[in-house]
Symmetry: C2
Subunit: 373 residues, 2 copies
């Protein structure tokens, strides 16, 4: 293996991928990054027990990459990244014998010990077949609006993932921890149907890696793997097996009271109120509708003090007075997910979940179960 | 106590001062910030066992502060800062009874539990007297060029501080951990003479607080305290007692070989070479002068690999070949302290300390003891 590469483009890719490696991966070789020089460029792979990520630096990047000899090597990612960061100009990268990687510039010569390339786990060979194409910004938005609602406790493993459903030319992202639920759907042409549960750790990596993706992202399903792919970047993740609960049955159909509020104003109020309960037993904040015109937000901590705020509401339909307590973190995260200026709180009775959605968008909703105030 | 204040200017000062409070100060009241409203403004104080910091928001800041009632209160700094950060517009701050601070805006009402103001330690009453005035940028530069060389191990307490010497219209900052030494002096008109050892923790707080100070900083000595003061900000720190070693006797007077190099180029080379020894037993990097024209930098880690670099030197006087090993971290920190483009390494023989200084500046030097290579 031998190639010459521009330091900046090499560093950019290395630093992006190396962040997918957990700090103390076991065995040691899982701290490695696999580099393969081939006829079309240099492909870099990092992986763990859940996913693997593959990025290719194509030969087309003229003047930035020349491959002299094909071959593969696995080297400690952390040191390679820091080294390339500190090296100037153009680098000649070459495998020497079985276990030494040489990196050279005019004045500098580095030899880096490498792992046994045969010992690196084979990434699954996947037959990609038909895929679903989704604009990158849309997929990123849908996932970031829902994934946070998944469970962080693995007593019910299916709830620790993001549910992606492809059906009837729709894609639906949803997540719940059984106390709150987030759902977002979008119309899209689909060639495949089915429901898939992506582990939250993979979802987070997806958001980091594809965050700036302006292009189409193609989603493939292949056995127990789901694949996100753009031209030079691919992420393959295992799926969580099991039956996801039926979410549609949870959504209240006939709310009694609709309260329309300014999204950002309510968010700021809840954020302030949440300050005092951060270190107490609960994260509860109390909301009261007063006289059909005002929303009062209160929270109280016996040690720290009390905060009380009144906000004018935009519109109300139904009851004029009501009171409920909600987990402020759930409410903050739900409100942050909306891009709309106004949202409606749909109230169906005490101890029934509150449905939050914009008036203008029927494809995005959050559901939060109240707590005893 | 009652005053009205613009949220932004209040937040700025609170957030600056609250960072001087250590995360888990004991007793609890030491997590507090003391606010005093008086006829000239509002003064905020934070303190610990080493130093106290006092900042005044003056009444002159027109429209930003109005004092209605004088008085004092101590409230938990962390909550006050986060609260003021999240509140909008103009705040009315008022002490209610003995132990409740009320903060109000039109729509929001907060009550914050306060500490017993009598229980807050009295800051020492200092008779400031004569002081030495030093331009802020100069004092900051001198301290940042030397303080890092102090010892982090407290077997010899005097070495864990920065030595500030005022004599013969000079101010000298110096620090050593007995393996390296940093010294910087500057001409300045002085009214007081003496040597003072400032604890490193106080030095770090000084650098954070006065970092952006473009004005004159006045230094006062008052008993066992040293005071840094600008118009509205003052920091009072205890001094370390004891005799500091005589530093001038350590500086080699007649070096055998002078090697002039480009500061930033050598720094980059040492920084690269240090990559591999970061996790090994030592931080050593080997420097070799070859043929009176080239400097070879090498470092080696049995596990990771080897890095080797050659740099042209600018000038050499004395021997044509020599070899020495230095702690790369000490060398990196010393080189970073120079603003000059070129520095000279003064070599006095194997196992004698290396003196590093710019040709153009006789008032700034670093000394590093070699290690066995």
């Amino acid at each position: 293996m031998k190639f010459k590469i521009d330091r900046s483009s090499f560093y950019e890719v290395l630093s992006e991928l190396s962040r997918s490696i957990s700090a103390k991966a076991e065995p040691q070789i899982m701290n490695g990054i696999k580099m393969t020089a081939h006829s079309e460029g240099v492909t870099l792979i990092v992986s763990n027990h859940l996913f693997f990520v593959e990025k290719t630096i194509p030969l087309e990047a003229k003047g930035q990459l020349t491959v002299y000899e094909t071959g593969s090597v696995v080297v400690p990612a952390k040191y390679l990244v820091e080294l390339v960061k500190k090296l100037p100009g153009e680098l000649t990268v070459e495998l020497i014998g079985q276990h030494k990687l040489s990196i050279k510039t005019e004045e500098i010569s580095v030899v880096l010990s490498s792992f046994d390339v045969e010992a690196y786990p084979n990434t699954p060979v996947l037959d990609l077949g038909k895929g679903v194409q989704i604009p990158g910004p849309l997929l990123n938005e849908m996932i970031s609006q829902t994934a946070f609602a998944a469970s962080s406790i693995d007593t019910r493993p299916v709830l620790t993932g993001l549910l992606v459903t492809l059906q009837e030319n729709k894609i639906i992202c949803a997540a719940t921890n059984s106390h709150r639920l987030a759902m977002r759907e979008s119309e899209i042409e689909i060639d495949i149907e089915g429901s898939y549960i992506i582990p939250l750790a993979s979802v987070k990596e997806f958001m980091r890696l594809f965050n700036s993706s302006k292009d189409l992202i193609t989603v493939y399903i292949c056995g127990n793997h789901l694949v996100f792919k753009t031209l030079n970047l691919a992420m393959y993740t295992r799926l969580i097996e099991g039956n996801y609960p039926n979410l549609n049955s949870l959504i209240p159909a006939h709310p009694k009271t609709l309260i329309t509020v300014q999204t950002s104003k309510l968010l700021k109020g809840i954020d302030r109120a949440s300050l005092f309960n951060r270190e107490s037993r609960n994260n509860n904040v109390k909301l009261e509708l007063i006289n059909g015109s005002t929303l009062k937000i209160t929270s109280y901590s016996p040690d720290l003090g009390k905060i009380e705020e009144t906000q004018q509401i935009i519109d109300v339909y139904g009851e004029k007075e009501l009171s409920l307590s909600l987990n402020s973190i759930f409410l903050i995260e739900a409100l942050k997910a909306f891009t709309e200026e106004e949202v409606t709180l749909n109230y169906s009775g005490s101890m029934r979940p509150i449905l939050i959605k914009p008036n203008s968008n029927k494809r995005h909703l959050h559901l939060i179960s109240p707590v005893r105030g």
